[in-house]
Point group: D2
Chain length 355, copies 4
Amino acid sequence: MAPRRLRIGVAGLGRMGKRHAMNFSQSVPRAELVAVSTPDASERQWAEIHLGPSGVSVYANYEDMLRHEGLEAVCIASVTSVHADQAIRGIAAGKHVLCEKPLATTAEVSQSVVDAAARRPDLKVMCGFSRRFDDSYRDAHAKVEAGLIGRPSVIRSQTCDVLDPSGFFVAYAQFSGGIFVDCSIHDIDLAQWFFGEDSKVQSVSAVGITAVEPGLREYDDRDNAVGVIEYADGRIAYLYCSRMMAAGQEDSTEIIGTHGKLTVNLIPQENLVRIYEPGGIRHELPQNYYGRFKNAFAREAVEFTDCCLDDIEVPVKLASAVTAVRIGAALQQSMISGEKVRFDNAGEGAERAHL
Amino acid sequence: MAPRRLRIGVAGLGRMGKRHAMNFSQSVPRAELVAVSTPDASERQWAEIHLGPSGVSVYANYEDMLRHEGLEAVCIASVTSVHADQAIRGIAAGKHVLCEKPLATTAEVSQSVVDAAARRPDLKVMCGFSRRFDDSYRDAHAKVEAGLIGRPSVIRSQTCDVLDPSGFFVAYAQFSGGIFVDCSIHDIDLAQWFFGEDSKVQSVSAVGITAVEPGLREYDDRDNAVGVIEYADGRIAYLYCSRMMAAGQEDSTEIIGTHGKLTVNLIPQENLVRIYEPGGIRHELPQNYYGRFKNAFAREAVEFTDCCLDDIEVPVKLASAVTAVRIGAALQQSMISGEKVRFDNAGEGAERAHL
Amino acid sequence: MAPRRLRIGVAGLGRMGKRHAMNFSQSVPRAELVAVSTPDASERQWAEIHLGPSGVSVYANYEDMLRHEGLEAVCIASVTSVHADQAIRGIAAGKHVLCEKPLATTAEVSQSVVDAAARRPDLKVMCGFSRRFDDSYRDAHAKVEAGLIGRPSVIRSQTCDVLDPSGFFVAYAQFSGGIFVDCSIHDIDLAQWFFGEDSKVQSVSAVGITAVEPGLREYDDRDNAVGVIEYADGRIAYLYCSRMMAAGQEDSTEIIGTHGKLTVNLIPQENLVRIYEPGGIRHELPQNYYGRFKNAFAREAVEFTDCCLDDIEVPVKLASAVTAVRIGAALQQSMISGEKVRFDNAGEGAERAHL
Amino acid sequence: MAPRRLRIGVAGLGRMGKRHAMNFSQSVPRAELVAVSTPDASERQWAEIHLGPSGVSVYANYEDMLRHEGLEAVCIASVTSVHADQAIRGIAAGKHVLCEKPLATTAEVSQSVVDAAARRPDLKVMCGFSRRFDDSYRDAHAKVEAGLIGRPSVIRSQTCDVLDPSGFFVAYAQFSGGIFVDCSIHDIDLAQWFFGEDSKVQSVSAVGITAVEPGLREYDDRDNAVGVIEYADGRIAYLYCSRMMAAGQEDSTEIIGTHGKLTVNLIPQENLVRIYEPGGIRHELPQNYYGRFKNAFAREAVEFTDCCLDDIEVPVKLASAVTAVRIGAALQQSMISGEKVRFDNAGEGAERAHL
């Protein structure tokens, strides 16, 4: 009598992996978290404590999890460097795949996931661009589609993390693909979404500094950067990414059209409380990306589950994830080289050999 | 292997009933909606379409639903006038009860529910003061408990509905108990929560007008009203309730302490989108109470379910619901009589015979 | 060739007096501050230093200042208890008079100023309700007049001062007329302005507490109070006044109409700067009434000067000042007595003997 | 006895000229507007009506105005193309000079004004960067100087005008120097002010589009543009300028430091009124640059007057105006050429021959 539930496993139990696992465990009535996998012993210990009592199987090895009886889908939240490989192996094993962004740190490797998915049209494969599931971004997108602001012409968008003085981001830079691929990829995806998925990039340029983490230079990364994307049809997206925010996570977007403008989260807020005290009026902010987008992550999980169970198309095309990586990697390259990167007519970086 | 789920039924499928039913059906992984009941044929038809496919049984009669095999709990969302009776019958049948506010329109009848619950300490019985489950109110309460603003001394709170030109509120006034019992009861409950559940009221006074709905006078009701509650220990709560808002639902609260102030939702917002257009910058508002508090309703359902399954105390004491009705009814009385209503030392209205 | 300038003197050099003197000296091109008077020796010393070099004569005695050769107008900023007497003597001496609010702490004495002014229609006599000269209040009033919100039906307005732990407000309470006459008189005047100058009050009621300054009780005053004004034509104004704000001066107003609502200064701000820091986003507030309304005070001085020089009617009718005191004193009476004060048909307090 | 007043003349009575003239006439007690000059007959007619009655002499010819008896200072508000020439002639005639920005559209011509001023150290010569006189920018600057946000590392700043569908900006583009010189020069000046006047630019790059005014291309201009300035000491300023805003003038600035961030005017507002109506909550914006900065213009005039009368140094160094033009012109060049412009070690554009 009870409706059928999607049996899903989560790969990777780092910060995002734990959240995905808890989400599928507690917030997605149509899904049943049946397995998790992680090579990290302490993460497996966490899983035994928090998920074991609900009957979730805990694997050290991703391949073993793929063989879990009855498993239908996987959510990949491992380190970025194995995203593509795990996605392709999941597809090969006949599982639906929800993969954390980015698919990979290069367009070429990202494309290999798209190619694998193309060979299995029966499976649902989606890259998790969480903002596309956020109420506010969806409302803004619907308003743009309805013509409220005329032709969207300029987008300003930023992904700015709280300063983490522990040095985390230096270590993380080895694998992240760089700040434009790790952070700005969300903003790049938004630009594609708002301007049109098939918008052609003409050039990108970027500059970056290390205001607080000089150690990032060793990995060709920066802690604050500004990037500009020129589109072939006379539009501009300009981006700011940072690891240095004092007050909280600041992910803001402006979509500027010929007849109006929309902003999303221009002044971030944790909730609706305001504090009046000596010194003024104050409000708190989400302290990380998940704090800002937790409802979006839940909805992403719910909708992905619905797509798998009801065999409907996933709301974010997988090819978008390749485009976003291509642009992000080009920005990263421009930031390091100091040179503008021009794209050829096919919308691919002319100097894409560098990517 | 799958964890046990609470089998619950929803009584009443009006505006709030539908929402409760969908909530328990889709947003509470540990609950299973197994039955609904409503005397209204069109509401039953809605249920057959939206809930039938998931195996939910649809009853015309509340008693029949109570006899549904395996039913463990009921959520009562019927018209206010039957809240108390259905709650008492649910308790008598050995079901956990989550009852929409108010328990009744008089303190005496409300008390009868408390008495019934007292005879069945094994059951969870809770009145749904939804704001207590809202993230922002909870954050504010935690900050007050932590001493952030010193001693809370003055509370301003309002519950203001959008203007409904259909005449709905006139018809509704026959059963609602009046604007202070229907709307301000939330604000009264907040005052008790922030000032302390055992705070003693000294007097209440109120004034009201009919700015848009003169027909309300026939039912001794008003469309805009201001009430003032004096507490015996030198505190004040002052309330505004209205059925006349143009922009959206406006439920705002200020808690003013000796060292600071907190506001909750001082400027309501639907989401984080802002619209720039000729005429200025604009943002949309929730259009009704549920729009503002939908996350709170979901959390209320989740937590009530947890309490039932795990046998833990419900987070809102049932007695609070009686106090809130007593104060609300006294405000309503004062608004109509034009006289201040004084409470005796026991915290009960001296003129409570009128209530 | 240079245009003629109004020769004006300022009486009283306390906090507001100093500001008025500096205003007329520096911000009103068409006025020339020629004299000041104060019985306080230290205030005269301040004047010798700050105004003497500009040729301003400093008097210990108000009568002597009135005899200053060529003096055309006086601005009265002395303690409230001498406002009316100085105003009447200024009128008798043939001077235009700009008098700080309130004219007096009783309606009767206030009326005596109106009577004196009526005998000299050639003179400009105005009570300084500064908010009427504030850009934002004027914009709101123009929008209401234009019908933007339908019929204004409910006004919420507050005048809330920063906590001054020095005990200043206790000493001040002896002369101020009480918190409703001293603070809320601005809000009362706004209600009259927005509802119509000839609006008839039906009743007022008020409650008050001493949350931080119990010493105020000796002078029948309170540090936090809420007042409600019922109008005969079905409108309500409700007011909050406080001496206990932590963050800054909070003078907010809402005008709620049948088709919309306007707010003025709902979230106070010192300027357009926002501070992002650990703990959140913060902004500063004006720390006192003058900080909020300094532009309004300057404009008040400019417009009063224009009225005198160009013989045009003053923008605030003097009779309004009597009405405001009548209502304020009735609220103060209600707060102390605990009884509602009802007004008779002529719009005067039925129990006005008490005032 | 009345204090001495500075006798000043205003050159040019276009939009800004009229405002400067009214300012000196009405808002600067220590100044006396004695003359104006403009080659435009209709502007002279306006002056006869509005300024003639106050005794202001109206000239068709700037040289004639310079010979006005007793004239001590000039405010130059003519078209940009004559700024430098009029300033140099004013200096030669021994007049203090307040010149509207920019001094010229090239750094070379701007420098000629600095050179002329250097030969007359007895005169006050200032370029009117109005934002430096704005309360909010000054407060932000003081906070940065006090170390509130650590080391300022990234500045985002924009100057965005309301869409003017009349074609005004196309005609204006012939003389304005382009959008970066005309609009962003304020933001460039702010970057220099916040980062330090002697900050060295390493490179600038820019992109631009014509979203609404293709006619601008004829004059090598754009209606929306983004520019990025790299500083040699590891800082970034990024700028947006637009002629296409729907809601009003949007001049916002963020100063991002290693320990915090300040924003100025992130959400523009005309005043403190908020409008609640079907569709949401709305507030109006200033409709042009002057609306946003009128208080700053008044203060600029007051302070310039004080400097002249009291022989104190002007608050904005004249050399800053050359730096700002150099950077603005390089951005404009980059936008048109599509190439990054690199500056040599002396902080001057390596390719400055192009400017």
